[in-house]
């Protein structure tokens, strides 16, 4: 095991890793920008180093400063947390070259999964379902038609040069496709100077469901069940839960096996997450995150496994402590992201936290690096706390979430607490009947 771990991150995840290290008897090094002098991760670390000014590019994203901080403090391993350098293969390489342990997968795995096209091909090759569509641009309307028939309507036409909705057309039947094909091409031509369009299956109400996997250096790879992350806004997750109200044991097994197959294909080691789109019993590979996730606690609550400690053990060359055989998900867990932002406009709302009272009691967990009088700096993301509740079933988790959000007092900055309380009172949410489109309709 390592003697001293440097955490190349800030905020709640940096503190989360520091506390895990403390429990394992490992010394810790916090790095921080000038804006984070008073941050809790700095207070609780055994050692701390200022690595640059507030601007991330010159501090939390400065590879040389972080490596130098490890050198002068004698750290022998680096935990990247999430965001910042956590999925930067170059950083992982340098860490290894400097004779330090990178607490995460191999640089090659990070690089491969970081390339959307390559990741998609790897998944396909590993037999992981991907969204069916045309191989590259369509040559003729007839080709479009035959592909569409083979995968079934509705389908969506997209500009190959694409993006931003221009050149996009959703078609529900052949006649629509015939007319839409040309419109899409001309629109694409006008927009991007290239008329090429391709098509793929259109999902009306997809769910974002991800599988937590974990591999060790002995070639063992396990699935720790799914997380339901469909409640998001502008691709920012708001509420995550496990298990998903939409996934049955059989589907869970199939998704887990697919995730494991993909990881095998890249000799994946340490924690990772495979994101899928799910609809009508079918799931399609979206992408893989080669790091710990913000929402990892919901998996910890239903599996009883401390994912961060497991990361440290596996990185130190130890075996997974996850018991052999099917892992039962116990009870139901939900995470609410408490962001310092306007609950209506979602505009970040940095400032001084004047009152901070945390909820407690059974089944309530809070991960946070904030405290009363802490000043939320404007330079970084607006997450100030994660409220995680656990219940024997989804109904209890929801009622527990409601009372915990009522108990949670934050004054001085606006937060998403009122939004979460509103969502918990939404009939469709309570029924578990929603897709990634939930927030669109909810905000209307």
């Amino acid at each position: 095991m390592f003697s001293k771990v440097l955490i190349a991150n800030r905020g709640e995840i940096a503190l989360r890793v520091i506390l895990a290290c403390k429990e394992m008897g490992l010394k810790t090094v916090a790095v921080h920008s000038e804006a984070d002098r008073d941050a809790l991760h700095v207070r609780f670390a055994d050692d701390d180093v200022c690595i640059g000014p507030a601007l991330s590019k010159q501090s939390y994203l400065s590879i040389s400063s972080i490596i130098a901080a490890a050198e002068i403090t004698g750290a022998d391993a680096i935990h990247p947390g999430y965001g910042f350098l956590s999925e930067n293969p170059h950083f992982a390489e340098i860490v290894n070259e400097c004779g330090l342990v990178f607490i995460g997968p191999s640089p090659s795995a990070i690089r491969l999964m970081g390339d959307k096209a390559k990741a998609r091909d790897t998944a396909k090759a590993a037999g992981v379902p991907i969204i069916p569509g045309s191989e590259g641009p369509l040559r003729t309307a007839d080709e479009a038609l035959s592909v569409a028939k083979s995968i079934g309507f509705p389908i969506i036409l997209k500009a190959a040069a694409g993006g931003g909705g221009r050149g996009m057309r959703i078609c529900w039947d052949e006649t629509e496709l015939q007319t839409a094909y040309e419109t899409a091409r001309s629109e694409a031509e006008r927009a991007f100077g290239v008329a090429d369009v391709y098509l793929e299956k259109y999902l009306e109400r997809p769910r974002h469901i991800e599988i937590q996997i974990f591999g060790d250096s002995f070639g063992r790879i396990v699935s720790l069940g799914e997380r339901e992350c469909s409640i998001q806004r502008r691709h920012q997750k708001l509420i995550e839960e496990s298990p998903s109200p939409a996934i049955d044991a059989d589907t869970r097994k199939r998704m887990g096996d697919a995730a494991i197959a993909l990881c095998r294909a890249v000799d994946y080691v340490n924690a990772g997450t495979i994101e899928f789109l799910y609809q009508d019993g079918q799931f399609y590979f979206m992408e893989m995150n080669t790091r710990i996730q913000v929402e990892h606690p919901v998996t910890e609550e239903v599996t009883g496994i401390d994912l961060v400690k497991e990361q440290l053990r596996v990185a130190a060359g130890e075996r997974l402590t996850v018991p052999e055989g099917e892992l039962p998900l116990r009870g139901h867990a939900m995470e609410f992201r408490i962001n310092a932002e306007d609950p209506v406009t979602f505009a970040p709302h940095p400032g001084k936290i004047r009152e901070f009272h945390l909820p407690g009691g059974p089944g309530v967990r809070v991960d946070t690096a904030a405290y009363r009088d802490y000043v939320v700096p404007p330079h970084y993301d607006s997450l100030i706390a994660k409220l995680i509740v656990r219940g024997n079933d989804r109904t209890e988790a929801i009622s527990r979430g409601k009372r915990a959000l009522e108990q949670f007092v934050v004054e001085g900055v606006k937060t998403t607490i009122p939004l979460h309380r509103a969502i918990l009172n939404d009939a469709a949410f309570v029924r578990g009947d929603f897709s990634t489109r939930f927030m669109e309709s909810f905000e209307r």
Binding site: F44, D48, G52, P53, S59, A68, R372
Partner: protein
Amino acid sequence: MTFKEILELMAKVAEYGLGAVEIERAGTRIRIEGKPAAARPVSQSLDDGGDVSSRQTLVPSPGAVPLPAASNAPLEEPEAGLHIITSPIVGTFYRSPNPESDAFVSAGDRVSKGKVLCIIEAMKLMNEIECDVDGVLVSVYPQNGQPIEYGENLFAVRV
């Protein structure tokens, strides 16, 4: 902020009969409260009470190593006419190119723009830190071979 400036602020607070003036700048905090008028809301005095206690109490019990005093210095205004050179990078401080040779500079030396003052080693690279003003070197803050944080004081030069 210099001591003189603080006194001036106090005078003005009294003169203008202000409720309170509070200045907070990374690490440094100054609060001046005017005559306690019956009118003045309690909440103000409450807030600062809060600030203070939390700053003291959230310093963790054992374990955590406080920042080297020096590294807070740049936040304060240096003595008038004194120019502080701080470290642009994280690394190990060396006063001479190699253990055998003499220090690049010593207190009392005249220094000029571009003059190499020290080396900071990071990732096996020797980074030469150059002087950015003309003047007389007054003090060298770190010890030879000492670890250096970003922004930590290295030298003081009287311009």
